[in-house]
């Protein structure tokens, strides 16, 4: 069994899946735009009083106030959505594509900066890496740069799984096999059905907990064992993220991580 995906196709699919995330994310933020009004919960007035911004030089504060005030910020979010739609219809390289990807990268970076006091959205932290790599690739879309960018995305993806696995190992509860059980039975993400399932099938849930840690830590092996065995990790990843999306309603995580898989596919073939 062989997989053949060209660098250009891998870039195309990374871009397409990323764009779907960007469009949904943008639509959600525009739908909830009222919450970004200056004095509202996600508004700039409280954020700017956080120590992270408070002690900056005045000219920096003036720039940030200009960018992050309600009207400008919502306009930038809308622009990010429009640019994402444009990228969907443009070729993977070219001046306009570079411009769009560069602007998307800048707006996601600004979004992360604005959310600094609250903690940037995890999806955006990964998406900024993907769009950064896509932007650099669009500057010079030859085979060499395409390969470097796809390797970068694949490596970042593997690192994210290893980091999550190691963090679980460092947590006593996860190490004992109770991590998932605790997530299901405690916490605002749980449902009664899921909690009851965890209680009734605690041995199975414990096994899944350990399996999650092992596969997360072993995920970089995907780059060593190559195709077709590496496909095991990708299939596991798709199922893993889909279940998380289904149970915890973190569908955007699914899109962001799956967006890195075409890059892994290219690397392992």
């Amino acid at each position: 069994m062989s997989i053949i995906i060209s660098g250009d196709n891998a870039i195309l699919w990374v871009t397409r899946i990323s764009v779907v995330y960007l469009i949904i994310n943008c639509a959600e933020k525009l739908y909830a735009a009222n919450q970004y009004k200056n004095s509202d919960i996600l508004g700039w007035y409280d954020l700017r009083r956080h120590t992270y911004f408070l002690h900056r030089p005045n000219f920096i504060k003036a720039i940030l106030n200009g960018i992050f005030c309600f009207n400008t910020w919502i306009a930038l979010i809308a622009l990010r959505g429009i640019l994402a739609i444009m990228v969907l219809f443009l070729s993977a390289s070219g001046f306009l594509t570079t411009l769009c990807l560069g602007a998307i990268f800048v707006i996601i970076s600004l979004s992360n900066l604005r959310a600094k006091p609250l903690g940037a959205e995890t999806e955006d932290r990964v998406m900024v890496m993907i769009t950064g790599a896509l932007f650099l690739r669009s500057l010079m879309p030859d085979a060499y740069v395409t390969t470097i960018c796809l390797w970068f995305i694949a490596l970042q993806s593997c690192l994210s799984y290893v980091a999550a696995g190691l963090a679980k190992i460092n947590n006593k509860s996860w190490l004992k096999g109770n991590g998932l059980y605790n997530v299901f039975t405690t916490g605002n993400f749980h449902s009664e059905k899921l909690g009851q399932f965890a209680i009734d099938h605690w041995k199975l849930v414990r096994l899944i907990s350990w399996a999650t840690i092992i596969i997360e830590c072993a995920f970089p092996l995907v780059l060593i064992v190559k195709a077709p065995y590496g496909l095991f990790f990708l299939i596991w990843g798709v199922i893993f993220h889909f279940i998380i999306a289904l149970i915890f309603k973190f569908g955007k995580f699914f899109l962001v991580w799956i967006a890195t898989y075409p890059a892994i596919l290219f690397v392992i073939q």
Binding site: K29, A32, R125, M129, M140, V145, A164, A167, G187, A245
Partner: protein, 171 residues
């Protein structure tokens, strides 16, 4: 190799290596990364690896006649099937949920003394207070108080003592 190739290679390698260093030495360099990683380019990727605990948010009202309501739990959970890909409300509820969690842990670890101004001036406190005070209130309600409490059990039936109770905020 063109100079542009080299620049892109160096940029992406440096970016990846910085991330590797952060993942493996987060406890040592975490605060520097927080300080200098202005645009969130470096990530620790530790989601769902923490101890699963749940702090819930409750509020109660003070009425104009001097009586008080019981405690009402604020529901921050989203649970419709389509919320897996479409959950605009989650932008606020996840922010409030995270603020509740951070505030409760800050009190538990004695980082701050509750009810002192350095606590009530915290961004996370303001977010929680703003959210609670924005929940619909009857005309006879003159003030509202909130509390943070750890819940346990699949129905949230077991609760510890409140981690924190705010003062009454006038409405």
């Amino acid at each position: 190799m063109a100079i542009m190739h080299l620049i892109i290679l160096i940029l992406l390698s440096a970016w990846f290596l910085l991330n590797v260093v952060f993942v493996f030495f987060a406890s040592k360099i975490g605060r520097y990364i927080y300080k200098f990683d202005f645009f969130g380019w470096i990530s620790s990727h530790t989601l769902f690896s923490m101890e699963a605990r749940s702090f819930s948010l409750y509020y109660r009202d003070k009425f104009i006649d001097g009586n008080y309501s019981g405690w009402n739990k604020v529901e921050l959970n989203i649970n419709k099937w389509y919320n897996m890909f479409w959950a605009p409300a989650n932008l606020v509820t996840s922010t409030v949920y995270s603020a509740v969690d951070d505030l409760a842990k800050a009190v538990e670890h004695f980082e701050v003394e509750p009810l002192k101004s350095n606590f009530t001036n915290r961004l996370k406190y303001k977010i929680v207070a703003k959210y609670v005070l924005n929940i619909d209130a009857g005309e006879t309600v003159i003030a509202r108080q909130f509390k943070l409490q750890e819940i346990k059990g699949i129905t949230g039936d077991y609760t510890n003592q409140p981690v924190f109770e705010s003062e009454y905020h006038p409405l």
